[in-house]
Symmetry: C2
Subunit: 470 residues, 2 copies
């Protein structure tokens, strides 16, 4: 099977000896297989089965069986980086049972998607643009026409929030972009950000499900959010919204932004809080009886594959779960610490062992360098595993794009820090300047996959093949 | 058995329900037992056995059998917070086979130590004072008198570096204090710090072993250093020194301190580098054939006990090892993440589970608040386990003293952050101000043990008793 990591051989040549090489092979192969298993077409083919009129959608948390005889038409809509390849896989399974549809994907990736029934439109990301709006309008228009005997398979994945954007009547796209920027700068978290954005949007926060009513909606969701909250992934277009206009106003008050946002934003939120315009669809709304939100794949799915690969290769697997958050460099230190423990004291397990973790770290940028959270995590880890033999740390974004770089992530050996020093590239100094890309591009260790068109966050692996205790 | 945690009942009353309570009981009991097992007298009694003339010292990594018939006299010397209680336990085992000796302990703790043959002297910590020097002089003087048929049991533990201090002839105590301060401020790490300090000292870096020669020295070491490096614990008084005068000078050059340190310091290091005065004893020096350095207990020992307690109570134990380092608040987030994974996705193990980790985190102080690394770790974790049921995070310094506070550490429940908010004490804001003590002292959660007189760094526990997935 072709390795998803394009520069595998080059990375293995960085190994100091056979133990390093073995450790790296374990980590990189596990990473490659883990990502392959969450590629959009694989996910759809694994989670969907069709026997006569019974369509089963198997999710991570729950499954749904749909009796197709109750519907005249099946539509495929969606938004997100993975939605195009998912639509294409659905066509393979459902063929011309699909009446039509439209998915909004990342601009420039359209030519990698082959569909004949479902239209594919590119839009911009991470900042929404005109095409995001035109795409959203087209989807809304089509959904509004549907009736009780229509079934919508809605494909949701990371990036969907930007790729499908429709300002509520009364605010402009630029208002939403600006308030998002202000909130991020003020330090608002994703929940606060979403509370505001959903109440300025005509599609997020469950609105799409409302337009589709009385059609049945089954959302197939690839989660790129730690904790898999349905109302957070792509801002929850088909999920009930637990937040209110009042909450949105409170967020702006908390960050003292109420007088800094555009007057249109303020007017809309105040109108909503006073009950003058309708709220987003709320939990318990009868419309959601017609909606199933099914997470078909998440970070944990990828970690399971990585663990399975390790075990198949005779190593132990220790899975730390998909909830890893924190400053990238500090998470890197902790993971390196666990690797050192395995090497020197046989916990959490005796080598060979693959420690598998996932989630989404953050980088507090202080320097002028280039990098991404996976590369920064790995660079920090390289300092902690310095001198170890048969220990590697590897962190990779499953979307294949780490930060503003062309790398998916990086791998560090016990000799990586030393190699940098010998080349006159101080790893600590590179870290201080947030220049993990600069470091690894010269010293070696960048992992390249190219954009994978899927995203279940990051996978972080520590591979230990040697028992330094003995 | 008496609980080492003095305010156990009060801490359990903070639980929201029976699952919280169960989780807290598991964590706090494991912590209490883990610390009890590394108390100095316990450690000595566990690691020493005497049958007729055979004295066996069992260490974590290696053991040593000593034929007492080859010696006329047994001496007990030592330095460190644990050395007093260790000496007392040795007297219980060896009785009047001990000829005499002297241990240097923390000032104010002398009255907790009952010895009749070994003298106990208090000295100051963390900054060395006159008593540290007088104590060191007394030990050196006695060691220099010993001959081939003398056996020295040297008791080393955390704090020993300050409690036993002797400037090399030509530098003053104030020089060492000042250069230490300058190096710490400049961001030097412990290895760099020690390279300099050992070369200004007449006792660190193996010098004590040299004075004792030709007597046999068996050092019994309680490690408070991540990685258990013999040359780092208490600055390695009986361990060979791999660093040189040249290294010490390079450290000062690296931090541009060569012109800022006292002229005495500079002169001494330059004299040493030019070979004018003797180096510290080096690895391979024949004198070390007469020396055994045995780590009798370390952080891993405590973690093993915690894991055993969990298993005895029917819970799974996942040990992440003793190498945990990193910024306390970020380590707290990672540990909370792993707890959430256990609660929601049954990895690394299905609840009930106790995740056990240890090491030494750091706190980058930015605010004016009070706290310690264990409390700060726990406060950060409280924000990540907010709303969870049956999940607690607990971090405790095994010495019973966290930072500049009277608490040993803290425990956080799923309701801790909320409880703070309801009382008008914002946990995030407290964290921003490094005011973990201020937060927990008002909201509840400080763990009190009092000074334990031992130190094997910190233990960090995440206890998960509920499976939120089902």
């Amino acid at each position: 099977m072709e390795h998803l990591i394009k520069n595998l051989e080059e990375l293995l040549r960085l190994a100091e000896g056979s133990e390093d090489r073995e450790a790296a092979e374990l980590a990189l192969t596990a990473a490659s297989e883990a990502i392959r298993d969450v590629l959009p077409d694989k996910v759809v083919k694994r989670s969907i089965s069709l026997r006569e009129d019974k369509l089963v959608v198997r999710g991570v948390y729950e499954s749904s069986e749909i009796d197709l005889s109750r519907y005249d038409r099946i539509w495929v809509f969606g938004c997100g980086k993975a939605s195009g390849l998912m639509a294409s896989a659905l066509e393979d399974i459902l063929g011309d049972r699909i009446a039509g549809g439209l998915v909004l994907v990342l601009e420039g990736t359209e030519d990698r998607i082959r569909t004949s029934l479902v239209e594919v439109m590119g839009a911009s990301h991470p900042l929404p643009g005109d095409k995001s709006v035109r795409g959203a309008e087209a989807i809304v228009k089509q959904l509004k026409r549907l009736g009780e005997r229509d079934l919508v398979l809605f494909l949701v994945s990371g990036g969907g929030s930007a790729l499908m954007t429709l300002p509520r009547e009364g605010v402009e796209l630029e208002d939403i972009v600006e308030v998002t920027r202000q909130l991020l700068k003020a330090g608002a978290d994703i929940r606060e950000l979403n509370a505001v954005r959903k109440h300025l949007s005509a599609v997020k926060g469950g609105w799409l499900a409302r337009y589709a009513y009385p059609a049945t909606v089954v959302s197939m969701i690839v989660s790129d959010v730690v904790g898999d909250r349905l109302d957070t992934i792509a801002s929850g277009p088909t999920a009930p919204d637990g937040t209110t206009f009042r909450d949105a106003l409170e967020v702006l008050e908390r960050y003292r932004l109420l007088n800094k946002v555009s007057s249109r934003v303020r007017r809309m939120l105040e109108a909503g809080a006073s009950g003058a315009i309708p709220e987003t669809p709320k939990p318990g709304d009868p419309l959601f009886r017609k909606v199933k939100n099914i997470i078909v794949c998440n970070n944990a799915s990828a970690l399971e594959t990585a663990a399975r690969v390790a075990e198949k290769r005779g190593a132990r697997a220790v899975v730390l779960g998909s909830y890893i958050e924190g400053e990238a460099r500090e998470v890197g230190k902790v993971l390196a610490s666990i690797g050192r423990a395995a090497a020197h004291s046989k916990v959490p397990a005796e080598p060979p062992v693959l420690v598998v973790a996932g989630g989404e770290t953050t980088v507090t940028v202080k320097g002028e360098g280039r990098g991404g959270r996976n590369q920064e995590l790995t660079l920090a880890a390289s300092l902690k595993i310095r001198g170890e033999v048969g220990v590697v740390v590897c962190s990779i974004g499953t979307d294949g794009v780490d930060g503003d770089t062309d790398a998916a992530g990086a791998i560090a050996y016990g000799n990586t820090a030393e190699r940098g020093m010998l080349m006159g590239i101080d790893p600590q100094e590179a870290l201080d300047r947030n220049d993990s890309y600069g470091f690894f591009s010269r010293v070696g260790g960048l992992v390249f996959t190219g954009p994978t068109l899927t995203n279940v966050n990051d996978i972080m692996l520590v591979s230990v093949v040697r028992n330094a205790f003995n």
